[in-house]
């Protein structure tokens, strides 16, 4: 049992880990090691670098700094977090428990641009297999996605639904994972139905009857994870208070996932507050 698990190793997550570690808390950072910062070519508006610094260097310096402080960092992908009395963090390779969690995976990618997604939210379109699978007992459902997160959602649905199809919407299934399910790789044009979702229309004009579609594209982001635990999200940003705590006790969020300025300075500021605030009560 860790005092805190931090999801994400960008400026917000690593700063939070440093502040938490300096309070003698047990800290685990779990990260896919693919921060948006790494892709930034040159940063010239961050304090203390007279000639600027590349995003990759700044990111790697942060990781090194945390490692020098003996902070445990593992490379893995978080696919689910459950909250009862403590947090149970499920990754592709393992499970971990913690008294508190800090979400700092960066910003959410937009909802996929497929007609009908917004319209059928709660009417067959779901963002949470563990919450909503029950309603699709004995029905034909689909998972939209092609990575580890989609596979996790598929496994949640399989024992309950009559059939589960994976829709990659033009992508390829992630390498090194075999899937025991029907996979359709065709691009999707729209989800259609009357009062609830009834069919998928593909770009090649073919159709498939469906009762539910679970959205699980890419990696599970802070927003995806927060939503499942029951934290409030507005305008695609996680709602936090002045301590960076979400509406779920002991669940914190910092950095781009809380909205506002998408800047390193803001991520550092929020990470520091989160690292100082956890388990204070």
């Amino acid at each position: 049992m860790y005092d805190v698990i931090i999801v994400g190793s960008g400026p917000a997550g690593i700063t939070a880990s440093i502040y938490a570690k300096r309070r003698n808390l047990s800290v685990l950072v779990i990260s896919k090691n693919d921060s948006a910062l790494k892709k930034t070519e040159k940063i010239e508006n961050y304090y203390g670098f007279p000639n600027g610094i590349t995003g990759k260097d700044l990111y790697e310096n942060g990781i090194k700094q945390a490692q020098n402080l003996k902070i445990e960092i593992i490379e893995d992908e978080v696919v689910s977090i459950e909250y009862l009395n403590n947090f149970k963090v499920e990754t592709v390779n393992s499970n971990y428990e913690a008294k508190s969690v800090i979400l700092s995976t960066g910003t959410n990618r937009a909802v996929p641009k497929i007609n009908g997604i917004k319209e059928f939210e709660g009417k067959g379109i779901s963002y949470c297999a563990v919450c909503d699978a029950y309603f699709f007992k004995g029905k034909d459902v689909a998972v939209l996605g092609s990575g580890n997160y989609a596979i996790h959602e598929l496994e949640q649905l399989k024992p309950i639904a009559k059939s589960v199809t994976v829709l990659t919407n033009g992508d390829k299934i992630i390498e090194n994972r075999s899937i025991e399910a029907n996979v359709i790789e065709k691009p999707i044009r729209s989800f259609r139905g009357d009062s609830k979702i009834e069919e998928i229309e593909f770009a090649d004009n073919t159709k498939k009857q469906i009762s539910g579609v679970f959205i699980a594209q890419g990696t599970a982001t802070s927003n995806d994870l927060a939503r499942k635990i029951g934290a409030r999200i507005e305008n695609n940003s996680i709602i936090v208070n002045e301590n960076m705590e979400t509406t779920v006790p002991n669940l914190f969020a910092c950095g781009d996932c809380t909205g506002g300025l998408l800047q390193i300075s803001k991520a550092i500021h929020e990470g520091a507050i989160a690292g100082l605030s956890i388990l204070k009560k």
Partner: protein, 102 residues
């Protein structure tokens, strides 16, 4: 605090024949977001009992009620007035937003 747990036996009396608007919370034990909304629902039941009746449907025990109202995601909140559905909202939200459907 008046908070009524609904089932198919008491549904007609408690909801359809009720004079006040009825706020129904469809929930389940295993649903994290439902647990987060429970205190909000309790607060409405506590503070607004003169103007609204608050009820809960445990969907595991009352699947037929969830099906009747085509609930496909929880928590779902439905308002029924004079036997008819007049408002619906889904998911975690602040009390003020939930009260808007009343």
């Amino acid at each position: 605090m008046s908070l009524v747990n609904l089932n198919s036996e008491n549904f007609t009396k408690e909801v359809l024949e009720e004079q006040k608007p009825v706020l129904i919370d469809f929930w389940a034990e295993w649903c994290g977001p439902c647990r987060m909304m429970a205190p909000v629902v309790d607060e409405i039941a506590e503070n607004m009992q003169d103007s609204v009746k608050v009820c809960k449907v445990n969907i595991d025990e009352n699947q037929e009620l969830a099906e009747k109202y085509e609930v496909m995601s929880i928590p779902t909140f439905i308002v029924i007035k004079n036997g008819k559905e007049v408002g619906r909202t889904i998911g975690v939200q602040p009390k003020e937003q939930l009260l808007k459907i009343l």
